[in-house]
Amino acid sequence: MMLATTVSSNPFLIYPATIVARRQEAPDIVNLRLVLNDPLVRRRFRFHPGQFNMLSVMGVGEVAISIVSDPDEPEWLDHTIRLVGRVTRVIGRLEKGEVLGIRGPFGQGWPMDAARGYDVLVVTGGLGCAPVMGAIDYMFRRRSEYGTIKILHGVKTPQDLIYRERFDEWRSQPNTEVYLTSDEPGKTWHYHIGVVTELFDRVAVDPDRTVVMMCGPEIMMRVALGKLTHRGLRPDRMYVSLERRMECGIGLCGHCQMGPYFLCHDGPVMRLDRILPWLGKRGI
């Protein structure tokens, strides 16, 4: 069991993983399914919904990407990546069969225990839906443990909608509501047109028995959180997944600070009452 010791004692060590499936979700968004090469490491790898991995491209560097697949199937690790940065642009050129490095999983994920017995309101914008995907899968595998699941998701244009088939599948489930909206109209768009916060008017929320999971652009989240607070939702029952530069994933490199928190290990999912003083502040 030397390996077990090595794995835990060097948080910088990366583990080779092979791309077993690659899907172009949008012109600048790709979904990669990774499988860790070492069977021992693969068997030991468990993650919590909302956690992320550091993905490595040899000779280029590392980037923090949330795990979007089902935490109950940890042998597959799906990552949805927007190809906009130095490392992600190279990741976007990799083909099926090529090898990446993985470190992880890191960070605090969604409050699956605290949400048990509650209705769950999921509010996401754009690629912000990615980190919540695993949490939704998790709840559907334990459907009786959670109340009504309401999913509100907004995109800029109809072409930005990814995971369409997963949203459709959830929509057909009992005790589940899915609302999609696009800022701009489109020929194939049969859903709402407008920003995601407009959907709040259509959704009944019981403030006393609802937990909120939210991820998207900060400006969207601030407006949404304000509206939900106004409707009586408690800050200690609302959770947001936040994004800053993360270079190490283990709270040591100093980049991802938001107030007193290192988002890579105190977050990325933060309970609203803890992070509220820092949200939307200039230069934070």
């Binding site: 004692s9 040899m58 940065g85 530069r245 980049h255 230069g283």
Partner: protein, 374 residues
Amino acid sequence: MTNAIPQILPKSGFPRLIEALRAHHYRIVGPVVRDGALHWDEIAGVEDLPIGWQDTQQPGQYRLERTETTTWFGIVHGPDSIKRLTFVPREPLLTIERKAKKVTVTPQMPEPTPTALLGVRACDVAGLLVHDRIFLQGRYADPYYQVRRDALLVIAVNCTRAHKTCFCASMGTGPRAQSGYDLALTEFEDEFLVSVGSEKGREIIELLELPSASPAYQRQEQERIDACAASQVRGLQEQHRLPQGLYEVHEHPRWETVAHRCLACANCTMVCPTCFCHTVEDHPDLSHTRNERVRLWDSCFTPQHGMIHGKNFRPTIADRYRMWLTHKLASWIDQFGVSGCVGCGRCLTWCPVGIDLTEELHALMRENVDQATP
């Protein structure tokens, strides 16, 4: 052990301490004068020490001069804190090799020579303990730091002279080394008082069979250290209002006025004994089959520190200065239970424009925020 009576080591007997360290297989790194400043380097013996030299430090100013004295440790410190021995500026982390589709990853564990660090100031010992909290006592222990830290024997020198930028007394970190040292010396004209701070230190000093210092001698030592503390002209007066006090002045106009002077050169973060921000780079060879992943010092004053896919969360120098000062003096306390400032004063001395963090904090925390002046 640490409360044991200090012993007297005559300067003429100092080579015996060096021999004892060598017998324990330590190489000896001490303060040496080079390029007009004090640096850490390997020393062969007492003759390499900057005997007779003194430093003058002011915000934005550092001068060394040779004096008539025969003081061995007359220079308080230079731009290098001791962090470069444990949190090294360039640390190779991994070698990643690729042959066809097979990728092999090998950790590059450092193999440091056991090192006795001679002449460490109380502020730097305090800085080392801050780094121990960050790199060893958090959720993840850093194995690279651990290996280098374990190889270190710390021989502190208590300060009996402060300069204008020192404020360790107000931070509670000096002028006497508080803990975290193996041996601590206080310099007198012809001898040192030696205090033992650890079992490792005791094993070394036992070999020398030194006489104990009399109570009168110990009083004299304390008086010299107290006088050094009393001579310090700066202090972090508003400490008791931290961390919350700094969080509350996030919108203070002073951030803008200090940004007019700040060059964002990152000197303060490089010379700081506790600043720990780092970045990781991949350095591939020309054939792209072998890659070295290295950790390098980084600074929150660089534009890319707060950058994420094209967006910069801290676009202005005011944002970066606020990030640095608020982290150092406030959020550090929430994160690690101690201040990120040990009062060494290097960030004042080595700031090209002489920005004084004690003055900035004072200006930010004055009751009437409207009175802030450039």
